[in-house]
């Protein structure tokens, strides 16, 4: 069984390489014909407005939404998190999203590129050491519903890059890694580092029954 990586725009290659290094077979997904036979799906980082438009024009949006509602396990990072959230703030009015995890997410909520940063994130369920996390014009989780399991929050420690005074939002305790049922989302980019634990967690999710 194969894991699909949405391959319309964004850092598709990084996700595919991480999954391949974990021994998984990956398939780039560009049209509805690419969907059958998947046991998991990755929505990569990219521009969520562009991705939303290309999902629509490729005819992929509705069949993919159906597959996800039917229990296809999914990992969304950054733009992928926006596409999976139930409520998106500061998006385009015509921007479509799947609405599968009960989060309110503000696009670019941490600020522009000058506010992008890197810091270690403690994830209790993944153990020590903390997961290195890269945030790039990241979406900010403003609210997580009661059914959402918050796996990690922003720590108070030091951050590399992204001067704190330029940050528009995102204080200690902001959720950055969340799960609800078969949906796993990260505001950061685990695919840009060599730590594979977030992807490993997702691969485990794809192996359990829906």
């Amino acid at each position: 069984m194969t894991i699909g990586v949405l391959a319309l725009q964004g850092d598709v290659r990084e996700h595919s390489e991480v999954l391949a290094s974990l021994g998984e077979v990956c398939r780039p997904v560009r049209t509805p014909d690419d969907l059958p036979g998947l046991r998991g799906m990755v929505l990569p980082g990219g521009e969520s407005t562009t991705l939303s438009m290309l999902l629509e024009s490729s005819g992929l949006f509705d069949p993919l939404a159906g597959a996800l509602r039917g229990g296809l396990a999914v990992l969304g990072t950054c733009a992928g998190m926006i596409l999976l959230a139930t409520r998106v703030v500061d998006g385009r009015p015509d921007q479509r999203h799947f609405g599968l995890i009960d989060l309110t997410v503000r696009r670019n909520g941490y600020g522009r590129q000058e506010a992008s940063f890197e810091c270690p994130i403690a994830v209790a369920s993944l153990g020590d050491p903390p997961v290195p996390a890269v945030f790039i014009r990241a979406p900010l989780v403003e609210e997580a519903g009661p059914g959402v399991e918050v796996l990690a929050t922003l720590p108070s420690g030091p951050r590399v890059g992204g001067e704190d005074h330029r940050r528009r939002g995102g204080g200690d305790g902001t959720p950055v890694l969340c799960r609800q049922g078969r949906v796993l989302v990260a505001a950061f980019h685990p695919e840009l580092t060599t730590d594979r634990r977030v992807h490993r967690l997702f691969v485990e999710m794809t192996k359990t029954e829906a």
Partner: protein, 286 residues
């Protein structure tokens, strides 16, 4: 550096469009641009008007930042680190140290390590690309010949850069020193190419892209995203052409789709023969 180059990774597979005002920026975003490049005159107008081309008016850049939610890039002159400082103060998401503007320094490019904001630089060859990366560029684009609507120079640059990358992967460890010498580039970066088979940062295409098929061509040659300058807003129907180029870039290997989006787009921007040009912008920078 992961934070700096990461933004370029997120732009891959997308189209970055030159825009001169908030209205064009909205058109670009509506069409699915992954980012916009804010500048006062597109390259074909700079070419026509002549004179010294400088960084754009900060008020104009701020107007565009307010109009769109996608990343906003802006251009500084080669070597003009004070213009780059101004652009960083404005909070632009990317700075293009660009040969389209008149160079401010004939020997030195900007020390890009001194900035938190990532830089993109143009290159015509692998040596030039590696020198820019050694100065801190987080993204390389082909120079092409901006403002001509003629893709031939961009193709030359992509083939030169990627052809040398492929040759380096075949070299033995002793030959890598000769490559570093020939390219006038740091040995560490040459070794990195030998080990990974890739440029150390993403490679995008710029210069002369005017049609969806142009975008498909350069993506198939190995570019990871495209910049379109004059090609959209100097064409007969910018709205349709912009979205057609976005589709053709995302689905570059699907000729049926490129054919479909190319149909009935109206006139492309007027093109120019490279031999007839008075100024070769790609010769700027070293």
């Amino acid at each position: 550096m992961t934070v700096k180059r990461g933004l370029a990774d997120m732009l891959r597979g997308g189209v970055i469009m030159d825009v001169v005002d908030a209205e064009q920026a909205k058109v670009a975003e509506d069409a699915g641009a992954v980012a916009v490049m804010a500048l006062e005159r597109v390259p074909s107008d700079i070419r026509r008007d002549g004179g010294v081309a400088r960084m754009s008016d900060p008020a104009m850049i701020q107007g565009i930042q307010a109009a769109v939610t996608v990343p906003v890039m802006a251009k500084a002159r080669i070597g003009h680190f004070a213009e780059a400082q101004v652009l960083a103060a404005l909070g632009v998401d990317y700075i293009d140290e660009s040969e389209v503007l008149t160079p401010a320094d004939e020997a030195h490019h900007i020390d890009k390590w001194a900035f938190d904001i990532p830089f993109v630089c143009g290159a015509t060859s692998l040596g030039e690309a590696l020198r820019r990366i050694s100065e801190g560029a987080a993204l390389i684009r082909s120079k092409g010949e901006a403002g001509t609507g003629n893709v031939v120079e961009a193709v030359r640059h992509l083939r030169s850069i990627l052809g040398d990358v492929r040759r380096i992967t075949q070299a033995d460890s002793a030959e890598l020193y000769a490559w570093a010498k020939e390219l006038a580039a740091p040995i560490d970066l040459v070794r990195q190419i030998a080990a990974t088979g890739r440029l150390p940062v993403p490679l995008f295409c710029a210069g002369g892209i005017a049609t969806p098929a142009d975008a498909s061509l350069v993506m198939q040659l190995g570019a990871e995203a495209v910049f379109v300058g004059s090609g959209i807003f100097k064409s007969a129907d910018p709205v349709r052409r912009a979205s057609a180029i976005v589709e053709a870039t995302a689905h570059y290997a699907d000729a049926d789709l490129v054919a479909k989006v190319s149909a009935g787009l109206g006139e492309a921007m007027p093109g120019e023969e490279i031999g007839s040009l008075e100024v070769h912008l790609a010769d700027r920078g070293w």
